[in-house]
């Protein structure tokens, strides 16, 4: 079953020209197994059955589905999510030619896609020192470096494999940070989640490499419902990278993922994202709806969780990677660059919930809006009455590149005791014309100058990204701004 149509010859040139705007806008022709459109209890049961899940997980899904039926989509965000017909979406798609075996067994078309994306699935991979759990639509195709990680006791596999191989671990942690009752999209994800990654770092282990997952929405109209669960046991450390690109599509696609992270005593988790999904064309047609729930629980004392994100894609972004700082002296960090162009809308930020004594958090958010886009920072810092001696610093800056774009900040601060210090700062302005003039004077065209200035503005966040991502993210910022100046 082919999901795509080749463009007719007459339109081919136009089609190519349009696709050129989005570097990663291509569609892989591989066969996919798709459950018919629609959502009811039978679909939930069928997904569970197809994946051969145990009874408790089916129960979890059904409870989530029943709860989802009682909820309404949230409307408080500064984004315009069109009415989504949840019955018009197919909830499961798996690449069909999936076989067990080595690299050579992977569908050549699929491999080509990964190559275009630059995923070092084969030999380069060992050289680059990363382990990649590549997710094409919903089922993990190939997990590399698993054996090497296994020697250390690190578990890095797809969540469906984890359900089979480590049911106790998954059962212990799944839904503990983001319960299915959390919000509309979390309930939907809990009911129909297809696959995702599971990471467990045992006590005292420092994961020797950056763990990485590339998500890619592939088959048309098969919303992706990823679920990631990361557990860092006492004294463990892991750096997890998530990068996304998606093929160009005319119809809007839904992405409602959940990421849950649990950090135990003295452990540290660093979670980095570069999100570059299809943002829609210049007239705001198409694009991904990225409605994600990400939350980490710093359960142990002296635990640390750091979120870094570079958001340049998606038509609508609705995500708030958050930290629940339950352990004493725990640390939460959030570094974000969100760039919106054309008609993109982003409502993103974080929540820092301080429950443990002397816990600290830092928030640095940089918003850049161009074209007709709307970019909002929405954040909350809450200090519980018993969480004494807490410290938070928040800085959220906005840069406006056009007079038709909007930049907004909606921070909420709640302080429940007298020994905590919370600071919030925000500024909004446009690029200084003197800076552009200075660059022009030295022969740098305005567009490049803007790219330079924006990269400089976002440097504080970029510095927090792992090397591999920092390079890509810098390019991404400049590419995303193309055509926005003039």
């Amino acid at each position: 079953m082919k999901e795509t149509e080749k463009p007719e010859k007459g339109n081919q040139i136009i089609e190519e020209a349009a696709q050129a705007e989005y570097k990663y806008g291509f569609v892989t022709d591989i066969e996919t197994e798709v459950i018919p459109k629609g959502l009811d209890e039978d679909v939930v049961r069928r997904i569970s059955a197809l994946k051969g899940e145990p009874e408790w997980l089916l129960d979890f899904r059904l409870k989530a589905y029943r709860h989802w039926l009682t909820l309404k989509a949230p409307t408080w965000g500064h984004v315009h999510v069109p009415e989504i017909d949840y019955q018009a979406i197919s909830y499961y798609a798996a690449p069909r030619k999936l076989k067990k075996g080595g690299v050579e067994d992977i569908d050549p078309e699929l491999k080509k896609t990964f190559d275009k994306l630059g995923i070092p699935l084969e030999e380069q991979l060992r050289l680059s020192g990363m382990a990649v759990d590549a997710v094409m639509d919903s089922v993990s195709v190939k997990t590399t470096y698993r054996e090497r990680l296994a020697e250390l006791g690190v578990i890095f596999c797809s969540i469906s494999e984890a359900v089979k191989d480590y049911p106790d671990l998954v059962r212990k942690y799944l839904g503990k940070v983001v319960p299915y009752t959390d919000n509309f999209y979390a309930a939907l994800n809990s009911a129909v989640f297809s696959d995702g990654s599971f990471v467990y770092i045992p006590k005292g282990v420092r994961c020797p490499m950056e763990l990485s997952t590339y998500f890619r929405i592939n088959a048309a109209q098969t919303g992706q419902f990823e679920r990631t669960l990361i557990v860092a046991d006492d004294d463990a450390y892991v750096s997890y990278l998530e990068g996304c690109t998606a093929p160009m599509r005319d119809e809007n696609q839904l992405h409602a993922a959940i990421v849950e992270i649990i950090v135990e005593d003295r452990a540290e988790v660093k979670y980095s994202t570069v999100q570059n999904w299809y943002p829609g064309d210049k007239d705001g047609k198409g694009g991904i709806y990225n409605l994600v729930t990400k939350r980490g629980l710093c359960r142990g004392d002296h635990s640390k969780l750091s979120w870094t994100q570079v958001e340049t894609g998606s038509a609508i972004t609705w995500k708030y990677p958050s930290c629940v700082l339950k352990g004493d002296h725990s640390v939460g960090e959030f570094y974000s660059v969100a760039l919106t162009n054309n008609w993109q809308e982003a409502d993103t930020g974080t929540k820092m919930i301080h429950l443990g004594k002397n816990s600290t958090s830092t928030i640095v958010s940089k918003g850049i809006s161009a074209g007709h886009s709307q970019n909002s920072y929405r954040g909350m810092v809450k200090i519980a009455p018993k969480a004494t001696g807490c410290r938070n610093f928040t800085q959220c800056d906005s840069l406006l590149l056009s007079d038709t774009s909007g930049a907004h900040t909606f921070p909420v601060i709640e302080v429940g005791n007298d020994t905590s210090v919370v600071e919030h700062e925000a500024t909004t302005s446009k690029i200084n014309e003197d800076q552009i003039f200075y660059c022009n004077q030295r022969g740098i065209p305005t567009e490049d100058a803007v790219g330079l200035i924006v990269n400089g503005y976002a440097k504080e966040v970029m510095a927090k990204l792992p090397m591999e991502f920092a390079v890509e993210a810098q390019k991404l910022l400049s590419i995303s701004l193309e055509g926005s100046v003039g």
Binding site: S402, G406, T409, P411, V415, N417, S420, H424, A426, S429
Partner: protein
């Protein structure tokens, strides 16, 4: 439960009486307010813009409403003074919701018009009908309730080009021997290139009773005008207030609103400013000193609808004991409004483990060539500064008082009347020392005896 219902029922029962006693203009708006209240509910804690404040609970108490407009015998001018030393003002009183002038009110005669609505509706019908109820939003249930029950108000008009010699002082006193709710209402129109300085302070004479002041103020600042509005609360822990101030600014106008809360029970202040002309300046200042069970919630909204405007906000809270403070401020810059400069600051001191502060500064910007910022901080007194003072022989309590006074000083320094500034410094000092209600040897001159 719907706390509004008791007041709507009261209105329905006494509709004719209320309408008979009020100018026709007020009755016209009353109809709209009644329709608006049909399915209105007061916001509960946690709803949008009311994160820490439960209006339903505040209004649900069974307050008396003076529907019959029974006069209260005592002349407030005789029993109460709230004079600012070294400053000559024109003094007016509101006793509950009835307005009185004092002999000093004659001072600005021929310059400024200060009249109760009942007389203003006769003498200035065009102005009254052009501006009454035009700024305040009936969709806010507290504004609708005020419009529904209000029977009189105070109209202040400064004609074009007039700059009065003396500030106007309005002393609001609660002196009923029962739990009571009043609907205070002010309409202020300041003409082109005119100026107005208005001092308003709230007091309570019978501290044993519970009061609620549901107040609506509408201010129109014409081209090139200057308006200073100082609003001080110095009531009792049993006195509650919901105040909504709506401002419309025209080209080149300059508006300063300074809200000061020293003693109160529950207070919610809404400031809504529409900046409609270029080169307009807006200053919103707020200072709250709260202890015990005091609850102060300020909500500001400044909409920049014209280019080249400037706005500045600074709100400071000092919270002790179980006090709860809340601040939510929003700056909106509409499309095609370049060169707007808008700054917002909120600084808070939490002085006790049980004091709580909620803050939500917001920016919503739709134009690129702007300079906007907001800052918000919650913290404690600087330990080093305290230590420094103690090494110089200043006791810990005294040192804390000094630092807290210094913390709020810049809000007081924003006051554009020197005599008032001195008095505020004095009152704040007394407030921190806990002797504000102690009249012996006091220079504050609140009470004649």
């Amino acid at each position: 439960m719907n706390a509004l219902k008791q007041y709507i029922d009261l209105y329905d029962e006494n509709r004719e009486l209320i309408e008979q006693q009020s100018p026709a203009l007020l009755n016209k708006l009353r109809q709209d307010a009644r329709t608006q209240l049909n399915d209105a509910r007061l916001p509960r804690k946690g709803s949008e813009d009311y994160e820490a404040t439960d209006l339903e609970a505040v209004f649900s108490h069974d307050y008396g409403v003076n529907v019959n407009r029974l006069p209260f015998d005592a002349d407030p001018g005789e029993t109460f003074h709230c004079d600012v030393p070294n400053m000559s003002t024109c003094l007016y009183y509101s006793s509950n919701d009835a307005f009185h002038s004092s002999p000093t009110a004659e001072r600005n005669i021929g310059q400024v018009v200060v009249l109760p609505f009942s007389m203003a509706a006769v003498d200035y019908p065009e102005l009254m009908s052009a501006y009454y109820g035009k700024l305040a939003h009936l969709k806010d249930p507290t504004v609708a309730l005020n419009s529904l029950l209000v029977q009189d108000g105070l109209f202040i008009y400064v004609p074009d080009g007039v700059i009065p010699e003396r500030p106007i002082q309005l002393v609001n006193i609660f002196n009923a021997a029962l739990d009571m709710m009043v609907q205070r209402r002010l309409l202020i129109v300041v003409g082109k290139n005119a100026a107005l300085k208005l001092l308003s302070c709230d007091h309570t004479q019978c501290p044993d009773y519970r009061y609620l002041n549901n107040q609506v103020v509408e201010i129109v600042a014409m081209q090139g005008s200057t308006v200073d509005y100082y609003d001080m609360e110095e009531s009792t822990p049993q006195t509650n207030r919901v105040s909504s101030i709506y401002v419309e600014q025209h080209e080149g106008s300059n508006v300063l609103i300074d809200g000061i809360t020293l003693i109160n029970g529950f207070t919610r202040n809404n400031y809504h400013v529409e900046v409609n002309g270029e080169h307009a300046e807006t200053h919103l200042l707020g200072m709250t000193i709260a202890s015990g069970e005091q609850h102060v919630d300020s909500h500001t909204f400044i909409s920049h609808n014209a280019p080249r405007c400037h706005s500045n906000e600074m709100f400071k809270y000092v919270l002790n004991d179980n006090a709860v403070g809340a601040f939510a401020g929003k700056i909106l810059v509409q499309p095609n409004c370049p060169r707007v400069e808008a700054y917002q600051g909120n600084r808070n001191l939490c002085g006790a483990p049980t004091a709580k502060m909620y803050t939500k500064p917001q920016l919503e910007i739709y134009t690129d060539d702007v300079m906007c910022s907001h800052g918000s901080a919650v913290g404690q007194l600087d330990e080093d500064a305290l230590f420094y003072m103690r090494t110089r022989g200043i006791g810990i309590d005294e040192a804390r008082r000094l630092l807290m006074q210094a913390f709020v000083a810049d809000v007081i320094d924003g006051v554009r009347l020197d005599a008032l500034k001195d008095r505020l410094h004095f009152l704040v000092e007394k407030r921190f020392a806990g002797t504000l209600s102690n009249c012996a040897g006091c220079m504050a001159a609140c009470k004649k005896n």
